[in-house]
């Protein structure tokens, strides 16, 4: 059932909010503002509160979330988001704090930030952590800034290259470029991991850092990670860990112990804060001691005054790269991550990684006869990348078709066409919170689709069949760009 745009529901004179009354003298606007700065037209919709509630309720019903079903979107760690966290994040003592309140009025909040920093430091095996980044890519960018600051301070002015494997998330090269670096891409080895020879070829005194995702985007652990880090360090570069896949490592291994100098966390992925249709996420960056001075301001610190512990925001960090967020990052997201870590504890966190790995391998084991596995390692970590190249060759059914067909079985599709180095990639990350029953249903659907691709490829190519819209004309979306509701503006002034 079609849901109109809210603008189409608009009727002059309606209002959907019960606003405060005017209880002060009624100054005319012209007494307060220059006439030429007062706007005459405000083309917003006019609808009732019921209209609003219905519209967004109905729109929500045209959306799919973890709460509705299985969502194996690879690299995104779509695990169950505990509802109790929403209750905590809406407590007035957190939700209604103004960031510029005096420190003595926010000791609870600062203490949570400080404690979470320490938790992440421990989980990463690093020495210090900041929660300033608003999301993972923001953390990457911060890491690039710190990398530059580190080298510049050492007088290493020539280091302008960031080495990145071709399997990396697009954010890696984008973040490097955003900070003015030149990106040197290296091809993955035949095992899907970094090939030491390829790495050696590009390393030089121009190398500022290597950005490495571990486990990588193929769901494979970089077995030679220690050697890799050593090689980069040998030429004077830093090694950065993209922590998007930390769900596979919790309590099992720590980037700090592998030789990484700096890493980011995606709080929303690893520590299960709701992804909200694309955000807000929460980032964090953990560093070794030699990078600590460069962390962005403010840094949350603890001081002991007599018997009391006092938390404060430290801006006196002369070597800091500066400020990267309006205030202190996504506090309410960090709060949920904090609650998650407290709930699970050290044993629970390790179980997360173990079961995430188990679930991925289970899917892999039961589907490997039916689809090609991208790189044929004996096992994978928390996700498995399949390839539909067999299906494409045999019947022209592509990864996209398989994805769309999965919708008809009630599942959200995996990530497709990523990593870019895998043809017809289907990147499946089941996460630890899914049950064997759900995986069995998903596996059965995937096998059924593989059958359909043989028997009735058209069925798959024309999927999905049960969604509110069928496949959309993406080319038209670009060519006839329609990114706002024009009639709203056409009416202007009338």
């Amino acid at each position: 059932s079609h849901e109109p745009l809210i603008f189409e529901l608009s009727r002059p004179g309606k209002i959907g909010a019960n606003l405060p009354e005017e209880d002060v003298p009624h100054y005319e606007l012209q007494e307060m503002l220059p006439a030429h700065l007062i706007r005459d037209d405000l083309p917003l919709p006019e609808v009732s509160e019921l209209d609003v509630v219905r519209h967004f309720t109905r729109l929500s019903q045209r959306n799919y979330g973890i709460d509705v079903g299985f969502y194996p979107l690879g690299s995104c760690t779509m695990k169950y988001n505990p509802k109790v966290h929403e209750k905590i994040a809406s407590m007035p003592g957190f939700a209604l704090l103004h960031p510029l309140q005096p420190e003595k009025t926010v000791q609870g909040a600062l203490s949570i930030i400080w404690r979470l920093q320490n938790f992440l430091t421990e989980i990463s095996g690093m020495d210090a952590t900041t929660l300033q980044p608003a999301a993972g890519a923001h953390g990457e960018l911060l890491a690039m800034m710190m990398t530059r600051a580190y080298h510049l301070e050492r007088g290493d002015y020539q280091r302008n290259e960031i080495v990145i494997p071709d399997s990396a998330h697009g954010t890696n090269p984008a973040s490097a470029a955003r900070c003015g670096f030149t990106v040197r891409s290296i091809p993955s080895g035949s095992d899907g991991c970094v090939a030491l020879e390829e790495l050696k070829k590009v390393l030089s005194e121009r190398t500022a850092a290597l950005m490495l995702t571990n486990p990588n985007t193929l769901g494979l652990f970089e077995t030679e990670v220690v050697e890799i880090c050593a090689l980069v360090h040998e030429v004077g570069g830093l090694v950065y860990c993209d922590g998007a896949n930390m769900n596979a490592l919790l309590g099992i291994a720590r980037p700090g112990d592998m030789g990484f100098d700096i890493m980011h966390f995606n709080l929303h992925k690893t520590f299960s804060t709701p992804h909200g249709g694309g955000g807000p996420g929460g980032g964090a960056v953990s560093v070794k001691k030699h990078l600590d001075p460069f962390l962005p301001v403010p840094v949350v610190e603890r001081q002991t005054e007599g018997e009391r512990e006092i938390y404060r925001l430290n801006y006196e960090r002369p070597r800091s790269i500066g400020r990267i967020h309006s205030f202190y990052g996504a506090f309410l997201v960090a709060l949920r991550a904090y609650a998650y870590i407290l709930t699970l504890g050290p044993k629970g966190l390790r179980e997360v990684a173990e079961n995430a790995i188990l679930n991925a391998n289970y899917v892999r084991a039961l589907l490997k006869e039916h689809y090609d596995v991208a790189y044929n390692s004996p096992v994978c970590m928390h996700e498995v990348v399949l390839s539909a190249k067999r299906q494409k060759q045999e019947s022209g059914v592509r990864a996209l078709d398989i994805s769309k067909r999965l919708m008809d079985y009630g599942f959200h599709p995996p990530t497709n066409y990523f990593p870019l180095i895998v043809p017809e990639a289907l990147m499946i990350e089941p996460t630890e919170t899914e049950s064997k029953q759900t995986l069995d249903r998903f596996i059965a659907a995937m096998i059924q689709i593989a059958e359909e691709a043989k028997e009735n490829p058209e069925l798959v190519k024309s999927a999905p069949h049960g969604t509110p819209v069928s496949r959309l004309d993406e080319a038209k979306a670009v060519k006839q760009l329609d990114v706002r509701y024009e009639p709203l503006f056409a009416k202007k002034g009338t």
């Binding site: 609003v52 509705v68 995104c76 905590i88 890519a137 289970y362």
Partner: protein, 451 residues
């Protein structure tokens, strides 16, 4: 509780299906040398009730703006948030979804974002808006970086009346990417003097950090354009209920913080950066954009579009590195703007400006308190000059349950004992009066003591 649903038995069945004995066999590729041989040194586990009690205890260590009377603003505002917002935003289908890569299963959120983009265009007068940025400060930084791309120039000129934190973030972004950051006083001569053929853009804020509205902003933008640079303005979306748009005054890019649009202060995050510009710069836009198109049966539908600007497609050549953004908060802002609508947003803006003016009169009629910028038009924030250090006064006010505003000494030492006061529609006349009375008694007492 680790929220893992499989039982030991099921795990055994799964291991058997995989063909290994133990879960440890599955992470064989992790070298022994880097394996953690102990449990992480962390607290927990905790049961749900104990967690709630702990968090309540931590929350009780804070003093929030519902239990105090707060006149803090400076970028984060206590605007009224209709109850429907939280109810709708927390619906699981929205809350637990992710980036709508698969439009057929994400029409709900895609349509929301299309509506959001439309609303941001409606507010700002711009032609195109993206689907959200991290916050106002990074939206500004992205805008400035975007102008360096567009103009192929490397200097950014910023007025000193821009929010200090925004200036700091901008400086961080520019500095490490090896661009030039230049700060100037907010007057035509200073701005003119700073402009050159290297100027990519000039950054202005309207109302500015101190709450004041620049009457001559259009003139300023004209001289910016005259050197081939672009004008980036930071705007308060609530003020756009009555103020003319950035487009009206000639700006090329409009950014700002959307927190006031129905989002909790949340100790400063997560926030909602909004970003809009003129259509000629469409292909330089950072972030996600949702467009309308049709499906195979000709039905209207929504999808992410202009994707080749983005990092996951274009990698190092992308217009930005942003990936996860603030969709859920864009949803909140959309609900807010729809619920208030044309009449409601104007009403709120009018309430705000009237209450702020009432408050300024009340505060400035206190003996020893003066208005440092008399006659300068303002919206919801204004500066008052105290006879004693503003921080000391605020400390005293806090004891009486009032957060009096932001002492400006750390940001603008030249302003002396200045205090930045913010008044929104959530403050009643009685509360404003109470503030004025308390401030008067505090100032009287403290000045007497100082003498």
């Amino acid at each position: 509780m680790s929220y893992i649903s499989n039982t030991d038995n099921e795990r055994k069945e799964m291991l058997a299906a995989i063909g290994v004995d133990r879960i440890e066999d599955l992470f064989a590729p992790v070298p022994e040398a880097v394996r953690l041989k102990r449990l992480l040194n962390l607290p927990g586990p905790s049961d749900e009730l104990a967690l709630l009690r702990h968090c309540e205890k931590m929350a009780a260590l804070n003093k929030d703006i519902s239990s105090s009377l707060s006149f803090l603003g400076a970028g984060i505002y206590d605007h009224f948030r209709p109850a429907i917002i939280e109810v709708l935003v927390e619906r699981g289908e929205f809350l637990t979804s992710y980036t709508p890569y698969q439009p057929e299963m994400s029409q709900g959120m895609l349509q929301v974002l299309y509506e959001y983009q439309t609303l941001i265009c409606a507010l700002t007068g711009m032609d195109i808006a993206n689907a959200s940025m991290y916050d106002g400060a990074t939206a500004l930084a992205e805008a400035a970086m975007m102008t360096t791309d567009i103009t192929n120039r490397d200097e950014v000129v910023v007025l000193s009346t821009v929010h200090p934190h925004y200036r700091q973030v901008l400086q961080t972004y520019l500095h490490w990417a090896q661009f030039v950051y230049k700060e100037v006083a907010p007057n035509l001569e200073a701005i003119s003097a700073a402009l050159s053929e290297r100027t990519a853009c000039v950054v202005l804020q309207q109302p500015d950090f101190l709450g004041y509205v620049a009457s001559d902003i259009a003139n300023t933008i004209e001289i910016v354009h005259a050197v081939g640079a672009l004008a980036v303005t930071i705007v308060d979306p609530i003020s756009l209920g009555i103020l003319c748009t950035p487009a009206d005054v000639g700006a090329d890019i409009a950014v700002g913080e959307g927190q006031g649009l129905g989002i909790s202060p949340g100790y400063g995050g997560p926030l909602l950066g909004f970003f809009a510009c003129r259509k000629e710069y469409t292909r330089y836009l950072p972030g996600r954009i949702v467009g309308a198109t049709t499906d195979q049966l000709g039905r209207r539908g929504y999808t992410m579009t202009l994707r080749t600007r983005e990092q996951d497609i274009r990698r190092e050549k992308a217009t930005s590195n942003i990936c996860t953004n603030q969709t859920l908060l864009a949803l909140a802002a959309t609900i807010y703007l729809c619920a208030l609508g044309k009449n409601g947003l104007r009403k709120v803006a009018e309430l705000v400006i009237r209450k702020a003016h009432y408050a300024r009169e009340a505060l400035c009629s206190i003996p020893d308190i003066t208005d440092p910028f008399p006659g300068r038009p303002f919206f919801k924030e204004f500066v008052i000059q105290l006879p004693i250090p503003a921080q000391d006064v605020c400390d005293k006010l806090l004891e009486k349950g009032i957060m009096g505003g932001l002492p400006l000494q750390p940001y603008y030492p030249e302003l002396g004992n200045a205090l930045l006061v913010c008044v929104t529609e959530t403050k009643t006349r009685e509360q404003i009066d109470r503030y004025a009375e308390t401030l008067q008694s505090v100032v009287t007492e403290m000045t007497a003591y100082a003498k």
